[in-house]
Symmetry: C2
Subunit: 424 residues, 2 copies
């Protein structure tokens, strides 16, 4: 994608192109149709796991806004929270001022954190647009340590935390995603997390847990770092914490050198506060997941999901590794003849983006929305909302198994236009 | 500010620190009070220009969410648009799918653009968090030109567009803010804008108009680039386009090499769509400003505002340069004895952040919220919403003049705690 390549790294702009509306360009198809070709669903209504398209068809949505919608679409507690703010006459947007709505969010957020972190936590809101919470966390650990190097746990052999060259300082921080969603749903073993926590503590390196994709019950614990029992120094939060609306924050323990500047949030310093509707929807979501023990529900149904998906790997040659934790699953697709259509860097031998795309399309034909991920889009990902029922989960898995079977029977045809295969 | 220093540049995280809620730390004051010390307003209700604090006091808000709220707080058309989406059952968040709500936004956005751009426009939504539309625009112009250097018009002597070293390629793009808000409200003369457009066209450099702060009528034209009659190649849009909610987009003309990849918005490519409530609130805002000719209203009232503010510069020694366009004004504060309390890089001799902060506090005592800006926070900024009436404008200017008079009479005392001066 032309617009993404040159920037590179964590700040790569993630944008979606859209052609001008048809009134100006009658020779082109309407804007909505442009995307209909890629994924022929124009959602007009949605509730829970279900999306209803403009064509009247219904779909089970296991993309969930890339994991954002832990309570599914339009959950009543979310809608009620948003309406309550609207009806109260509260300001929807304030740049520099704290509000009762924000206060309620912070109170609820701290309730969900382990006491060791909650008792010493500070919360920094990011955005509303233009600031990546990971960038904020990087800046925080640099300021706190006076060092500049920040490394991703995924790239970190434990030895990187040791002095390899005499005199070389340890990194400022280590960023850890307990389950690396975009890398193809790769869980980090708990033992490795504990080892990294021990090493970072020993070397005074700050441990940053990126819970953007894994937080708020998704992996079967409220926060994914809880599986291993460690306490990070910094948390990166986004997606689910906004309860369907955009919200991002960084939580860090107090006492980090250089970060307790009382003027950090003072007006004129470029400070932003969270969006009020997102804070309200987010607080309602955090509370609902906690009160209804949806993390435990995610663990139970997630276990069932992964067990069934692993049986597909035994049944079908095109299914490679199945990975995940809780309601976060990745199914690697491999070309049965062992040759890959994506031999580039980052892809395992034999993995197939073409087959993953074919499974996605076959799922869509069967009323199931999934996406693909991984370094070469060779992994089909399932992120059902935490409110998924046993019955819905069965329907999801049946449709997926059927789609995999359809793909397994014929050779991959990555060049085919998906639009042509969709029944009208 | 510790968290901001190390990152530097355009991607500096702009976050606000917040202490843990009081239940966990009874020894500390409640979170809301932490900020009350910096700006003692806890807004509980807001409408139009007016914010009502938790203490029952009313304020005229001329910060407007750093210019975001062109229709003021909780405008009926914005609330109605949000409620219409909620009531329709439409999904609030979709990652990869276009929706009728998004389509309506794009249609309305194109209506506001000059035909030369609208007829060939593509719209890319950014975010919802973590992507800065300026970063997106930079990536776009790099991809389109195959060159990497992108310069800000503010730093650009026209000669930078010429070959200064044999063989050196021209930059990929030139980013122009018609009025540089954060730099201290510095308008770019129209003649300079036209000259830069001519030079960029001649050298095949893409002209990026950053309308984040200036768009949607703020400067007295619908888009600030229209004052000079030029047509940029790329527009950076944020703030006002979301109608109180976070939304950012980049618009570019089609036909830029390398940018017409039909798969750019395909699922799995990391694409994001705009937040639905923000798209609905934004479309309603764009339409209301257009239909009610609020840009012309902003031009008329802005002229009156700047005229009155310039009279303050003649009346009071502490008022330096008054700058602005439309409903965007900056009042530079200078120490009467000619010595600056902020002699650092970027500040003009004699400018005074202490006096600017004092004016802000005196305004607050009189029920007027303004902020400070500029490289050393030495400029008081006024960004009233476009729906401001003649009568409200008079009240704003009276309170401001009174505040300036109070500050002019006594020496600056930047160390004093603002909280102490606020009557309870």
């Amino acid at each position: 994608m032309g617009a993404r390549g040159p920037a590179g790294g964590a700040s790569t702009p993630a944008c979606a192109a859209k052609e001008g509306a048809s009134r100006f360009q009658p020779a082109r198809e309407p804007a909505a149709r442009t995307y209909a070709r890629a994924l022929p669903v124009v959602p007009v209504r949605a509730r829970g796991l279900t999306i209803e398209g403009a064509d009247g068809r219904r779909y089970l949505d296991c993309v969930s806004g890339s994991g954002t919608l832990v309570l599914g679409h339009n959950h009543p507690v979310v809608l009620e929270a948003i309406r309550r703010v609207l009806d109260s006459g509260a300001p929807l947007h304030v740049t520099d001022l704290t509000t009762p709505v924000e206060d309620a969010f912070v109170t609820e957020l701290l309730r969900t954190l382990p006491p060791g972190l909650a008792h010493h936590a500070r919360v920094r809101f990011c955005g509303p647009t233009g600031t990546d919470p990971v960038d904020t966390a990087v800046a925080l650990v640099r300021a706190a340590t006076g060092r500049t190097r920040v490394i991703a746990a995924a790239d970190a052999h434990p030895s990187v935390l040791d002095d390899r060259e005499p005199g070389q300082a340890p990194p400022a921080g280590l960023i850890l995603e307990a389950v690396r969603s975009a890398a193809g749903v790769l869980p980090t073993p708990d033992a490795r997390v504990r080892r990294l926590r021990a090493l970072t503590t020993e070397r005074a390196v700050l441990l940053v847990a990126d819970e953007t994709e894994t937080g708020v019950g998704r992996t079967g614990a409220y926060w994914a770092f809880e599986h291993s029992g460690v306490t990070p120094d910094v948390l990166v939060l986004s997606k689910a914490i906004g309860g369907s609306l955009p919200l991002a924050a960084v939580v860090h323990r107090d006492g980090l050198d250089g970060l307790d500047d009382p003027h950090a949030g003072e007006p004129g310093a470029g400070a932003f506060r969270g969006n009020q509707l997102a804070l309200a929807a987010g607080a309602a979501t955090l509370a609902h997941v906690r009160e209804h023990r949806l993390a435990a529900h995610a663990a139970a149904l997630g276990h069932r999901m992964l067990t069934r998906l692993r049986s597909l790997a035994e049944e079908f040659a095109c299914v490679g590794e199945v990975r995940g934790r809780g309601l976060m699953a990745g199914i690697e697709l491999v070309a049965p003849d062992g040759t890959s259509d994506t031999p580039a860097r980052g892809a395992r031998p034999g993995t197939s983006a073409g087959l993953a795309a074919a499974v996605r399309r076959e799922c869509l034909r069967r009323g199931l929305i999934v996406d693909t991920t991984g370094p070469r889009a060779n992994v089909v990902r399932l992120l059902p909302p935490l409110i998924v029922t046993e019955e819905q989960m069965s329907a999801v898995l049946d449709r997926l198994a059927d789609a995999v079977q359809a793909v397994d029977r014929r050779p991959a045809d990555p060049a085919a236009s998906p639009g042509e295969r969709i029944p009208r």
